[in-house]
Each structure stands twice: as C-alpha cells, then as structure tokens.
C-alpha cells in the first residue's frame, strides 16, 4: 500500500532523527502527493535554525505551494516573498520572527513556512486551518508538539532519518526505540495493571526509572515523545515493567535516507524483519 495516501485527512507531524534528516524534502514530496479536492495545509514547528537543505544545501527549507494551499508563515517572511497569497488570519502571539500569518496561496510559488511557539497556539492554528478547509495538514518538525494534537485524534507522525556510516548504530537504535515505543498500548480507564504503578509526568530519563530494587510493576508515561532513553535502557525497562502511554499518535511510517550505507547493513542493525518491512527508503530514489 502507498503509505503517503494513508496520510490523507490527518494531521501529520514529520519529525526527524536530527537536523538535515530530510524532513522538508519529504514534506514537499508528501504535499505534491496529497493535493486533491480539498486544500492541504503546511506549517513548521521547531525548525530552529535548520539553515540548509539536506541535498542541495539551499539556504532555507522552502515549501513549493500550489494555488489553494494553506500555509503558516511569519509576518517578516512575507516581504519580498515569492508567494502571492491572501491572508486568512494574523495571530496575536509574537514569535522571534514576528506574528504567524495564515495564508492561502493564490498561485504557485515558494514559501518559507513557520510556526507558533507553544501547543495552545498550535491547536488554534490547526483548528483554523481545518475551518478553512484543510483536511490534511503537514507539520514540519518538533516531535514534542505531538501530544496535544494526538489527543484530538487523527494525528500521525512520520519519522525521517538520514543514516550514514558514522551514525548507523545510533540511527538504528533510535528507530528501534520509536518502533518499540509505538507498540506500547494506551492506558485505558479501569484497566487492571501490575502493582506498583508509577506515573511519570514529563520526560522519562534514566534518572527517573524506578530503582533496581523494584522488580515489577507498571510505568505509565505521557507519550513516546517524552521517552529520553537509550535503546539499552528502554529494553531493560521493558523486562521489568508493564508499560503504558497516556496519549499516543499513530506511527505512519519511517522514512530512511541511506547515505553510503547499504540497505542490507542497515536492516542487519535493525535486527527485525517486521520493523524492516515498515521502512520506506529514499522516496525520491529510483533503481533505474
């Protein structure tokens, strides 16, 4: 199945393993695939200084907009912009680069997308985009913004990783962790869980894992974006505890851009045929 089509009518967070992982490139690819009868929306959160595009080193990640697209741009980015658009809203919250402005493209052009600074603002903007007809909204970056949207349902995320020989082990471990965490069930009301039950508010770091003297029990975490553990720490945690999340966005796909690493070597590192089956490799690569 074409996983990109599965993103239709959802709010999709495109999150990266690190800067220059290829998020914006994937965003542009997904946008062109998802345009249809209803407008698509795009905004960016937490791009924070990602100054150069992965492949061509262009100065800023830009979105190629088509007529009807809904985009969130910073007020300061509008002057001299290539895009001709109408303004649908100017938000009262200030960011370092001015107020966020919601635009509808009136013809094709390039735009530098931007975003709000907190979850409440993000919620308002997403709701505005939907009100103006965008059923599919792509959000570039910031994995930590998923929770609020996840609670509204229909949220998904795509995890984009650029794998190179020097980060092969850490990239594979990162993907395995996200994959494993995405399999942890949601905590249901009234569910009988092994005692003692530990509720972790905020980030789950190694220091917050209950001591080794606790042999069993349940650990309830906010969501997978709050897990800041190594793969080893995570696997150790799973052997001792029943795990649950308070909120959980759907994992739509892993998009992996291999660079000087063979697919075989990478999948060997993953060590899971099931996980390997979920990986989408370089969507712009062709075999010829």
């Amino acid at each position: 199945m074409d996983f990109v089509k599965g993103l239709r009518d959802r709010t999709v967070f495109i999150v990266g393993s690190r800067k220059n992982a290829g998020k914006t490139t994937f965003l542009n690819y997904a946008l062109s695939r998802l345009r249809g009868e209803t407008p698509v929306g795009a905004l960016s959160v937490g791009v924070d200084g990602e100054a150069r595009d992965q492949v061509f080193g262009s100065p800023k990640p830009q979105v190629k907009a088509e007529r009807g697209d809904l985009l969130l741009c910073a007020e300061t980015a509008l002057k001299g912009a290539d895009l001709h658009a109408e303004i649908l809203n100017v938000y009262p919250f200030r960011t370092a680069i001015g107020r966020p402005v919601l635009l509808r493209a009136l013809r094709p052009g390039k735009a530098e997308i931007s975003g709000p600074e907190n979850n409440e603002q993000l919620g308002e903007i997403l709701s505005d985009m939907r009100r103006h007809g965008a059923r599919t909204v792509l959000v570039d970056g910031a994995v930590d913004r998923i929770t609020q949207v996840a609670s509204g349902g229909k949220a998904a995320f795509v995890y984009v990783a650029k794998v190179e020989p020097e980060n092969l082990d850490s990239s594979a471990a990162g993907i395995k962790l996200v994959w494993s965490a995405s399999g942890v069930p949601l905590c249901r009301a009234g569910e009988k869980l092994p005692e003692p039950v530990f509720i972790i508010d905020g980030a789950l770091t190694a220091g917050r894992i209950p001591g080794k003297d606790v042999k069993r029990g349940t650990l309830i975490m906010e969501d997978l974006t709050k897990v800041f553990l190594t793969w080893q720490q995570w696997t150790e945690l799973r052997t001792r505890f029943e795990l649950r999340f308070g909120a959980k966005p759907d994992l739509a796909a892993f998009v992996v851009n291999l660079c000087n690493v063979s697919r075989q070597d990478f999948e060997k590192k993953l060590g899971s045929p099931e996980l390997a089956g979920r990986i989408i490799y370089n969507p712009y690569a062709v075999a010829c």
Binding site: E75, K79, E86, P92, R99, V101, R104, A285, V286
Partner: protein, 530 residues
C-alpha cells in the same frame, strides 16, 4: 489592598470575569477600584443597560460574543498599517466593530459612544477580499490585474515547458520526476546517461548520484520574465498598501473612538453576563459615611465549596449603621465568613460589578485594608503579632487619604488576652473618633470596652437541636464532623450582644473528636467557675 483582596478571595470571582476583546482583557488587567460615585454609576448603568438589552436573547448574545471574540488588537502605527497583515487586522477590526455596533439599538450605541462613520473605509478595505480573507486585490489597481494576468501566463508556459521536459526525460531515460524535484539513482545508471545535457547530476553518496532536470534556455527566459513581472507586481502592491494605510491613518480619531467603545461594550457585556449567571444585584451607593446593609448576601467562594460538599450555606443579612463594629462569636461560628462576605461584596461593588445579594447598600471607600490571618507569616523578622501591628499602623496612617474600610479578624489573638483586650479597646475608641474609618473587628475576646462601637454576635451553636438529633451518636470522619457542625451552627448575625462571651468551643471540640473524658472535665471546670 492585595491582602484585602486575598482575604475576600476576590480572585475566585475575578477569574470568571473574561472579556473577549484584547481591549477588554487590558481593562481587566487594570483591576480598577472605583472611589468615585459618578464613575461607578456610569459602569453600573452600562452593565444594566447591556443586561436589559441582552436579557434572554440568546441569539443576540451569541452574535455579540462572536464578534467581540473575533475583534483583533489594532496597531495604528505607520509601520503596521503599511503591510498586508496590518491592513488585514484593520479590516477585521472594522468589520467586527461595525457588526457589534449594528447589533445595538441606537440609544445604547450612544451610551457606549459608538458612532460609526467608517463605511467608506470598510468598503475600500473590502475590495481586498471576501469573507475573512484579505489581499492586495486586482480591484485596487488595473495595472495589478494586468501584471498578474501576465504572471499567470508565464506560469502556464513554465508548467507546459516542465511537463514537456519531464515527458522527454521519461521517454528517453526512463526517469520519472512526477512529484519529485530530483531523483537519486545508482552511479552505474547515471553513467549510462552519458552526460545528458537535459540532466544536472552531482554525487549523493559513494554509490549514488542526484539528478535534476535542466529545463533549458526557453524555460530560463520565461522564468526571468516572471521574476521581472513579480518585481513589478510587488512595486504596485507596495503603492496600494501605502494608499490603504493612508486611508486608515486618516480615520485614526474615529478608530480610537471605536476602540474605546468596544472596550466599554465588552466589559459591560461581561459584567451583565456575570450578573445574570450568578444572580447579582446592583448595589445602592450612598454618600460616605452611610450604613452598610446586606440582605441575603452570598460569599460565592464558600457557597460553591459547600455546595460541592453537599453542605448548607447561610447567606448573610446584616445592617451596620455605625462606623465601628465588633463581631463576637464562637470558634467556627462564622465570624470570619461574615467579614469575608462583607469584604467580597464591597470589593465587587467598587470594582464595578453587581453583588450576590438580595440587596446591598453601601458607601464608597478610598481604600480597604485587612489585618489578620498572619499566624503562619513572618516578614522582615517580624513575628505574626509584629506583622499585625505593622499592618495596623500602615492602615491607620492611610486614614489620612480618605475613607478606609478596615477589616480585622482576630486581631492580636497571639498575645495574652488581657493586653490584647486593652489594645483592642483602645483601637476601637480611636477609630470611633476618626471620621474616615469604617471598621469591622471579629474577635472571641470578651470584655472589650467597645465605646460607641456596635456589637454583634454570631448566633452560634444550636445546642437544643444538636442534643435532639445527636442522642449520643458518634460522628465519624472529618467530613461527617464538619457536616454536623454545619448542620447545627446558626450562621446568623445578631445585633447588640454587648460583648457576651461565646460558649460553644467545648461542644465543637467534642464533635471534632476530643476525648469524652476531657470534654467532661472541661465542662466541670466551667461549672466550678460559674
């Protein structure tokens, strides 16, 4: 004043006061305390008029709230207006203000100072889009329309050229660039391309090459022409923005008038909403000094808490005709709540709100002070007693500024009763001589020389009813004990106790679980004393 607000738990009410416009929210932040009867009357009149207009008209209320909520903050600086976002906001402001004014009948508009004269300006800005949207539209300049038509033609040409190129690449090299700006292909495959001029190639990694279509000279020429047209379009847009900004700036005075009117409408509508939702009554303000009279006044924070616990709440009815008042009563008898009810009602009234009471008559104060509740506090090395004395000294000094509402709860309770009674008696005498002082003092000390002060007593525990109901049944758990006290405590304020001492402490201690033996001995000691 902050201590007074905290004592009155004013924030629990103020949190419900949620104006919808940025201007109403700014007003809220000011936390006005009106000492002028004329200003306060104006506030009350507006809230009352708005309440009468909206009363029961759900549709109108919803519509008004919709437009108030949508009204943005307006920046009238030249820099802000000279931009599309600035003009978008100006239009949005005008469109919503116009709807808000239109909803109000003419006499009400006049009272709010809402005089609409900007139809032409709004029409001008409306040329920039339909509905909520705004842009520098073709309607503003016929040259813009021509430039945009030329750009659209360029876009069509570019699209055609791109499609033609991509078709060629697909047919010649089997490379499909649909939905992609570039492709990554194996190096071996790239070698077969043999340096095709219609492809730009560069290394991706050790085994792959990135290829992008080269669209050719004709594409570049059209692209350059489009750039030139876009530049010209931007110049024309800038000229239109300048004209529109000037048109808005020319109506600055009218806009500032709308802004002030909208703030008043927003605040009045919110006050009217609270009055309806919480069943508030317009206070009756008399010239200072005047009696403070409360009929069935409700201290909302406590009423809510008791309702949540399923406990009965007794509203306060009292008439304070003298300036200095002493309230006696037993522990848990409601003295503090009586003071809180008074402080809460007065704060609401002087903040421009109606009051939760069947009626509330009062006069206006220049300020208000609370002294008490300092058991757990220390400040700058002062003990709780020291802190109380310091607070009193400050309040006493403030009497020079004008009428002051002074509320003292269990003042000096942390020192020995003999000296405390002497100090309190002296304070009561002093305040009686100071015209600007309107004081309320709650205490369980007996034997005060209250002089000209009025004395009141909380009715206290209903022993007969308690004995009939209780019949030796033990109360279990704090909730049940509190329920028991609540059930048999009569939270009513009776005038003229003359310093009669309250005698409920031992009963309350018994209900709260102090051992029966101790209670019995305490009762015996009291008998012996008699």
């Amino acid at each position: 004043m902050e201590k007074f607000r905290a004592f009155a738990e004013f924030e629990t009410f103020y949190a419900l006061f949620r104006p919808l416009t940025p201007y109403g929210r700014l007003y809220r932040e000011q936390r006005r305390f009106f000492a002028s009867a004329a200003e306060l009357k104006a506030e009350y009149d507006l809230a009352e008029a708005m309440g009468a207009f909206l009363g029961g008209q759900r549709h109108k209320t919803d519509k008004l709230r919709f437009h108030l909520r949508n009204l943005p903050s307006l920046d009238l600086s030249a820099e802000a207006l000279n931009s599309a976002p600035g003009l978008f906001l100006a239009r949005k402001f005008l469109a919503n203000a116009a709807e808000i004014f239109r909803l109000l009948p003419a006499p009400l508009r006049t009272r709010f100072g809402a005089r609409w004269t900007s139809e032409e300006l709004l029409d001008l800005l409306n040329k920039g889009g339909a509905g909520e949207a705004f842009h520098v539209g073709d309607a503003y300049d016929k040259d813009l329309a021509a430039e945009r038509a030329a750009i659209a033609a360029c876009d069509r040409t570019l699209k055609g050229l791109r499609e033609k190129k991509l078709k060629t690449l697909r047919e010649r090299w089997g490379l499909d660039f649909t939905d992609r700006d570039f492709l990554v292909i194996p190096e071996a495959a790239a070698a077969k391309l043999g340096g095709a001029p219609e492809l730009f190639a560069e290394p991706f990694d050790g085994g792959h090459v990135t290829v992008k279509p080269v669209y050719g000279q004709d594409h570049m020429e059209v692209f350059a022409e489009r750039d030139r047209l876009r530049g010209r379009e931007q110049e024309l847009e800038a000229a239109v923005l300048k004209k529109l900004a000037a048109a808005v700036a020319a109506e600055r005075k009218a806009l500032e008038g709308y802004l002030a009117a909208v703030e008043k409408i927003d605040v009045a509508a919110e006050r009217a909403r609270l009055a309806a939702d919480l069943k508030l009554t317009r206070p009756l303000i008399r010239k200072y000094p005047a009696a403070i009279k409360l009929a069935k006044a409700r201290f909302l924070p406590l009423e809510t808490r008791l309702a949540e616990s399923g406990l009965k709440y007794t509203p306060l009815t009292a008439s304070f005709t003298r300036r200095v008042n002493v309230i006696y009563g037993s522990n848990m008898g409601g003295k503090t709540v009586a003071l809180k009810t008074l402080a809460f009602s007065q704060l609401l009234a002087q903040s421009g709100f109606f009051v939760p009471a069947a009626s509330f008559e009062t006069c206006l104060f220049h300020g208000a002070a609370f002294i008490g509740g300092a058991e757990m506090e220390t400040a700058g090395g002062l003990s709780s007693f020291g802190l109380e004395m310091n607070d009193f000294a400050q309040a006493h000094a403030a009497l020079r500024n004008g009428p002051l509402l002074l509320v003292m709860d269990e003042f000096a309770r942390t020192t020995n009763s003999e000296e405390a009674a002497a100090l309190l008696s002296a304070i009561l005498a002093d305040l009686g001589e100071k015209e600007p002082a309107f004081a309320f003092l709650a205490t369980h000390f007996s034997g005060l020389k209250a002089g000209g002060a009025a004395s009141f007593k909380m009715r206290g525990f209903d022993t007969a009813a308690f004995n009939e109901y209780f019949s030796g049944k033990p109360a279990c758990g704090l909730d049940e004990k509190l329920r028991m006290i609540n059930k048999f405590m009569r939270y009513e304020l009776l005038p003229g106790s003359g310093g009669e001492e309250a005698r409920d402490a031992i009963k309350i201690a018994g209900i709260l679980g102090v051992a029966k033996g101790i209670i019995k001995r305490a009762q015996d000691f009291m008998e012996d004393k008699k």
